[in-house]
């Protein structure tokens, strides 16, 4: 049986608890804000799988895993920020993997697409195993809202189309015949516009 190479960080490269504490205090403003924004987008992408958790929980979990010798020790050959970004990435992926979309959920947990306020029903405390049409509608609506934001920007729409088809950045660049710089410019434009739209509607990303 093929053995996978050990991912254990060699002792001489693993950061101590004191070094981690020092690294936190040494993070610059930009680095801290980068971590926050990254965690916010990753949480937003989890949808239902976020399970009521927010970006602070995700970032906190990344730090906790770093402190735990049995989990994600920080290899000092990478920057602390890069390490934490990697931890946020893999923890959010793990949360997604663990989430069972068919799991029973409470009606009261469902994000209502409608803005109408309804009287709480007795059903709100009864678990349901039927698919959640409102949840599916919310994701569909979000994707459609994003596309609507860029209806006049065909290049960004092409990038969004590629992402929706599970293409990677390089695949999209190749398919559209654009450079990495052009791709990053489009994505940056997407990010700013989506962020601005969210702020306008009172929602923070």
């Amino acid at each position: 049986m093929e053995q996978k190479p050990s991912r254990r960080v060699p002792e001489e490269k693993a950061a101590s608890q004191d070094e981690i504490r020092t690294a936190i205090h040494s993070l610059t403003k930009a680095e801290l804000l980068r971590l926050e924004k990254f965690a916010r987008w990753r949480i937003r992408g989890l949808g239902r799988a976020r399970g009521g958790r927010d970006w602070e929980d995700l970032l906190g979990e990344a730090l906790t895993a770093t402190l735990d010798d049995d989990h994600r020790r920080w290899n000092k050959s990478v920057s602390f920020v890069q390490h934490l970004l990697g931890a946020v990435r893999s923890i959010s992926d793990a949360w997604k993997k663990k989430f069972d979309p068919d799991e029973a959920h409470l009606e009261s947990e469902i994000t209502r697409a409608s803005s109408e306020r309804e009287a709480p029903s007795l059903l709100s405390e009864v678990p349901s195993t039927t698919p959640d049409p409102e949840r599916i509608l919310t994701a569909k609506q979000e994707v459609e809202d994003i596309e609507q934001l860029f209806e006049e920007d065909s290049l960004v729409l092409d990038v969004i189309g590629g992402l929706r088809s599970e293409m990677t950045g390089p695949d999209i660049q190749k398919a559209l015949g654009i450079s990495q710089t052009e791709y990053e410019t489009h994505v940056r434009r997407m990010r700013r516009k989506i962020q601005a739209a969210a702020s306008k509607s009172g929602r923070s990303i």
Partner: protein
């Protein structure tokens, strides 16, 4: 060939993750400028993020301390509840400990740090040492090897 059903949740995740990666690659100036554009003070906002990390670290350390404390208390309680097969007199217990340590000097390292100064042990210390050695199965081992030699 059946058409793959559209999974809007996965599509949304792909879009959001791409935006996250663009943040990872953005310049410092872009990050700061974006924060200001959102009407936030970068210094204040950054301070809050640092507190999230520091609070997570504090919570982790407190949890580890509580776990260690709990394990220690469980261990002490288990020792208190157990029956130990030790000599009844203090002199005999001290003799047994001296005998054990003279035959197996390596056993010193099996005992907790507070018992390393063996010349100044109280009767309670001696009893506690022997109980620990019995917990570790070392007294039984010694007794077994003594029987085999006979």
């Amino acid at each position: 060939m059946s058409k793959k059903p559209q999974n809007y949740e996965e599509e949304l995740r792909a879009i959001m993750n791409a935006l996250a990666e663009s943040v990872a690659e953005a310049s410092d100036e872009e990050i700061l400028e974006e924060t200001r554009a959102q009407g936030k003070d970068p210094t204040e906002a950054a301070g809050r993020v640092r507190n999230v990390l520091l609070d997570a670290g504090k919570a982790y350390r407190q949890r580890r301390l509580r776990e260690a404390q709990h394990q220690y208390e469980s261990h002490i309680a288990a020792m208190g509840a157990r029956t130990y097969n030790l000599p009844t007199s203090a002199i005999d217990r001290r003799r047994l400990l001296d005998l054990v340590l003279s035959r197996q000097p390596a056993m010193r390292s099996a005992l907790t740090a507070q018992y390393r100064q063996f010349t100044s042990l109280t009767e309670t210390d001696v009893e506690s040492c022997l109980k620990q050695l019995q917990e570790l199965g070392l007294l039984d081992e010694l007794s077994k090897s003594h029987e085999e030699k006979k």
